[in-house]
């Protein structure tokens, strides 16, 4: 696995992974985060995303909740097992208090209901970046 988070240079771009089985979400989020100064990889199936997570460490992961195969919560658990310091944001069109609670229990940084504003999720990631850079 490449790139330890602790050894990051302040000028290095943060690494983002986005997983959503709806292609439109990945297609729109990717350039928006690139424009905001992040390195971004996107996936529309959890199996490919999982195998990428196993080979590369990401600073931040944005994942959908409801998907074919491993859902967002299982993906979250997997990330936290191999890279506990990776911040995870759950995005979902099926937000319930139960799924939100479970996400937080499993270590999600935040839980965002769709539809959301592009600027809001970028602001959220910027807050995470601050924490990561400050080592909090």
């Amino acid at each position: 696995m490449s790139d330890s988070l602790e050894n990051r240079n302040i000028s290095d771009k943060l690494q983002l992974l986005i997983l959503d089985d709806e292609a439109i979400v990945c297609k729109r989020l990717k350039p928006a985060f690139q424009k905001a100064g992040y390195e971004v990889e996107t996936f529309v199936d959890s199996a490919s995303a999982k195998s990428r997570i196993n080979e590369k460490r990401f600073d931040i992961v944005i994942t959908d909740l409801k998907m074919e195969g491993d859902d967002g919560l299982r993906f979250l658990s997997h990330i936290k097992t191999i890279s506990p310091e990776t911040g995870v944001i759950i995005i979902t069109g099926f937000a319930t208090p139960e799924t939100a609670k479970e996400s937080f229990q499993k270590g999600a940084f935040d839980f965002v209901a769709k539809p959301f504003r592009l600027n809001d999720i970028i602001d959220l990631v910027r807050r995470m970046e601050k924490r990561i850079r400050s080592g909090a």
Binding site: E22, I24, R28, K30, P115
Partner: protein, 825 residues
């Protein structure tokens, strides 16, 4: 015989029933209002999603449609509950719209799916699966953006399918033959009668719209999302008489390609449009100036008679669309006498002089059309253009080059570039996302459509609907006041004009003539031109009209948000014409107000319900029933402001209590005709139903008033709802009757109408009945209007007998103005 105790017990029950009826009707009315507000908010949220500000998925569309369906059903239920089931048929209309929405969510094309033909003016992005993207692009360019593009109609995918199925032209059949024998088979095949009739009907309509369209072009257009090849080969310059046989030929040509078949279906529609005779043609698409990062349009051009002689030009992609570079050919003017191009001649230092097929002036007009199409498509595109006899550019075809150019157009260091740029303004709300460059121009609602330079960045104080007339010319719109939920924002999304509303200080900060790059999605305005940011437009971050999600959302909104029923006074304002959820809730809103206006008749209240007499400072007995009080105690006193919780009633009474209005008005002698006329109406009035002869009664709640007044020989009803939401505020006023003869009564009505018209009421007069209503006003405006109505009511009592001549109307109007202004002093 009844015992006294029983009579009292029975009377109490009757009273309680009457009051319960009022409460029930009023609570249903309020429920409708609350539901309507929620529905409109949800519609606005869906509409805003079109603007590219939100990231959404299918679940959002499904849950929004589900929530809307629940709420609209409840609106229909409440309307029937408050009107004793007068509008049961509205349930059927609701079900019909709901079925359409469910079908769209399942991937269907809604009720249009079975249309065999559709005219260009009726096309919209949401019809892509039925008519193909190229048809929509041409229709949008012509009808929405006023570009020179052909008019026409589409033989839809359903129409083409009907022909194929009727003749057994399956995939195996078509691909199992060579193209020549397939053409022969198609040429000999019969066109189903309903399809033939539909084509004839459309052809007739097209000739009506374009009397000179005697020559036509027919082109197959793929309808499978994303399958479109640029500019499918068509058949040009045919007569209407040849149309049906040419349609068959065009289909045969298309069906002979294996790639045209998607599984077992030939997903195609036919474009039938005016043939546009041109001498020069080419294409234009976004590009970079060779050897630089400068954003430009590359334009190719070649004479129609010599299509191989292609020249290329690069022009700036923003106004004034300057020619930046060109590759022109050496040409022999003798071969192309119709073109004024000069041959290349050798000059000193190895340079050549000559001219291209066309000059910078014409290229600018082509680029201007392309800039509009870029706004419309929101992504990479290619336009096929031609030059007609009048030397003007015409749009012959539009296609999306690919869905996204992603990395090739995304500068790796864009973030760093933007960090180093000067930000002039940051803030406001996104009404439509998008990036554009231009010069700042200050505009107002009075700016004429042609008063804005093409491609300017318009800055205005307020997002008023009048600004919609300049939207098709500007590259972006910034306003200091306004919200993305307003009408102008909806139009900006329709036209895909980047727009930021609520940008405080924009007029001061953004000086006229300043070059700026606007990033409406990020709500940032940068100083100067930033090419890497302009390139970012092709990255795929914006929601484009060609995206399947955009198309589904548009399809849904067509049956949700579109408002067909506008004027409640119109004959078409009926249940049968409720075709969208918006129609249904608007209909229910209007009819619920109507029901409320007659609340006193429904509940049979006059002299039957325990109303409390209002203490007032003027000689009028008004009784009130407060529907929000369970067990009212004390005397309502308008003088002290106690027990009068209704804001509309307070506003009305304030106007009515004006002392100057209760002074005696000029009182001319009553004629014999007046007496006979008055006696006649008095008798009729006395013989009429109780609601016309009863006491002055106000049914009130904190935000509501229904006041029935009987002053002398005239009656009026004022029904008002007042709160912070302008969409819910409504005042209805009805006035009828009087003692004097018809002419004098008519003059008094004219006087009242004059005053109401001035304060924004929409009024109608039938005989001596005046009806007026005021809607979409702020709480302050509504309060002021009620105040004026109060004053008017006091002033016009018994005034009909004083209206002795036509001049009296003006005289009394002046007197009213003087009395009300005296009072306000």
């Amino acid at each position: 015989m009844h015992l006294p105790f029983f009579r009292r017990w029975r009377a109490r029950h009757v009273l309680r029933d009457g009051q319960e009826t009022i409460r029930s009707i009023f609570s249903k009315f309020r429920r409708i209002q609350k539901l309507n507000t929620g529905i409109l908010e949800l519609m606005a949220e869906m509409d805003r999603a079109l603007g590219g500000e939100y990231i959404f998925d299918r679940a959002f569309l499904e849950s929004s449609v589900h929530k809307l369906g629940d709420s609209v059903y409840q609106v229909v239920y409440c309307l029937n509950a408050l009107s004793q089931n007068k509008y049961v048929a509205l349930f059927e209309r609701f079900q019909s719209v709901k079925d359409i929405l469910d079908d769209i969510l399942r991937g269907g094309a809604g009720p249009l799916a079975s249309s065999l033909t559709i005219p260009y003016p009726a096309l919209g992005w949401e019809m892509e699966p039925l008519v193909g993207m190229m048809n929509i692009c041409l229709a949008e360019a012509r009808h929405r953006y006023a570009l020179r593009a052909p008019d026409g109609f589409v033989v839809t995918a359903a129409g083409c399918k009907a022909f194929l199925e009727a003749n057994g032209f399956s995939k195996d059949y078509c691909l199992g033959r060579d193209s020549q024998s397939l053409k022969e088979a198609f040429a000999g095949a019969a066109i189903p009668l309903d399809l033939e009739k539909a084509v004839e009907r459309e052809m007739h309509a097209l000739q009506g719209r374009c009397p000179e369209a005697i020559r036509l072009s027919v082109r197959p257009c793929p309808t499978e999302a994303g399958s479109m090849e640029p500019f499918p080969i068509g058949i040009d310059n045919i007569s209407p008489g040849e149309l049906l046989s040419v349609c068959k030929l065009a289909l045969a040509g298309y069906a002979s390609h294996a790639a045209a078949w998607v599984e077992r279906d030939l997903c195609v529609a036919l474009a039938v449009h005016e043939a546009m005779p041109v001498s020069l043609s080419g294409s234009i698409s976004p590009d970079r100036l060779p050897g630089s990062n400068f954003e430009a349009f590359s334009i190719t051009a070649a004479p129609v008679q010599d299509p191989e002689a292609v020249e290329t030009y690069w022009v700036s992609s923003s106004p004034p669309f300057d020619l930046l570079q060109s590759h022109i050919l050496s040409k022999d003017p003798a071969r192309h006498p119709e073109h004024t191009a000069r041959a290349l001649t050798s000059r000193h230092r190895g340079f050549y002089a000559g001219s291209g097929w066309t000059g910078p002036g014409f290229l600018k007009t082509v680029a201007q059309s392309a800039a509009t199409i870029e706004k419309m498509m929101g992504a990479s595109f290619e336009v096929q253009w031609g030059r007609d006899e009048s030397k003007s550019p015409v749009i012959l075809g539009i296609s999306q080059v690919c869905h996204t150019m992603e990395q090739s157009h995304l500068s790796a260091d864009l973030f760093d570039i933007l960090q180093g740029r000067d930000i002039l303004l940051k803030g406001g709300e996104t009404a439509q996302a998008g990036i554009s460059y231009g010069k700042i121009v200050h505009v107002s609602e009075n700016t004429p459509a042609g008063g804005v330079p093409f491609g300017a960045i318009a800055v205005a104080r307020k997002a008023t609907p009048q600004l919609s007339q300049i939207l098709d010319r500007v590259s972006a719109l910034i306003t200091e006041i306004g919200t993305p939920a307003g009408h102008l924002a909806t139009i900006a999304r329709e036209l895909r004009v980047p727009a930021i509303f609520g940008a405080t200080g924009a007029l001061d900060i953004l000086a006229e003539g300043t070059d700026v790059t606007v990033d409406a999605g990020d709500r940032v305005i940068y100083s100067g031109r930033i090419d890497p940011l302009l390139s970012y437009r092709a990255s795929g971050a914006d929601l484009c009209p060609t995206e399947p999600e955009y198309i589904v959302l548009r399809s849904l909104l067509r049956w949700i948000r579109k408002l067909n029923l506008i004027d409640p006074e119109d004959d078409n304002f009926s249940i049968e014409n409720c075709n969208t959820y918006h129609d249904i809730i608007h209909f229910a809103h209007e009819r619920s107000i109507e029901e409320l206006i007659h609340i006193q008749e429904h509940a049979n209240l006059q002299n039957s319900v325990p109303a409390r007499r209002l203490e007032v400072d003027f000689p009028l007995h008004i009784y009130v029933i407060d529907v929000e009080e369970d067990d009212p105690e004390g005397i309502p006193d308008a003088r002290q402001g106690t027990q009068v919780h209704s804001e509309p009633l307070q506003a009305f009474l304030q106007g009515l209590a004006s002392k100057a209005l209760w002074e005696d008005n000029p009182n001319p002698p009553i004629s014999l005709q007046d007496i006979f006329s008055g006696l006649d109406r008095t008798e009729a009035t006395l013989a009429g139903p109780p609601e016309h002869t009863g006491r002055n009664l106000a049914i009130i709640a904190r935000n509501y008033m229904n006041l029935s007044l009987h002053l002398g020989y005239h009656s009026s009803i004022i029904d008002a709802y007042l709160d912070e939401n302008p969409g819910r505020n409504t005042i209805s006023f009805r006035f009828a009757g009087g003692f004097a003869d018809a002419r004098r009564r008519g003059r008094r009505v004219a006087l009242i109408k004059n005053v109401l018209d001035k304060i924004g009421f929409k009024t109608t007069v039938k005989g001596d009945l005046l009806s007026g209503y005021l809607r979409w006003t702020t709480k302050e405006e509504s309060t002021q209007a009620l105040n004026t109505l109060g004053s008017l009511t006091g002033f016009t009592r018994r005034l009909d007998v004083s209206m002795v001549s036509e001049g009296s109307i003006e005289d009394m109007l002046r007197l009213f103005t003087s009395k009300t202004s005296k009072d306000s002093r």
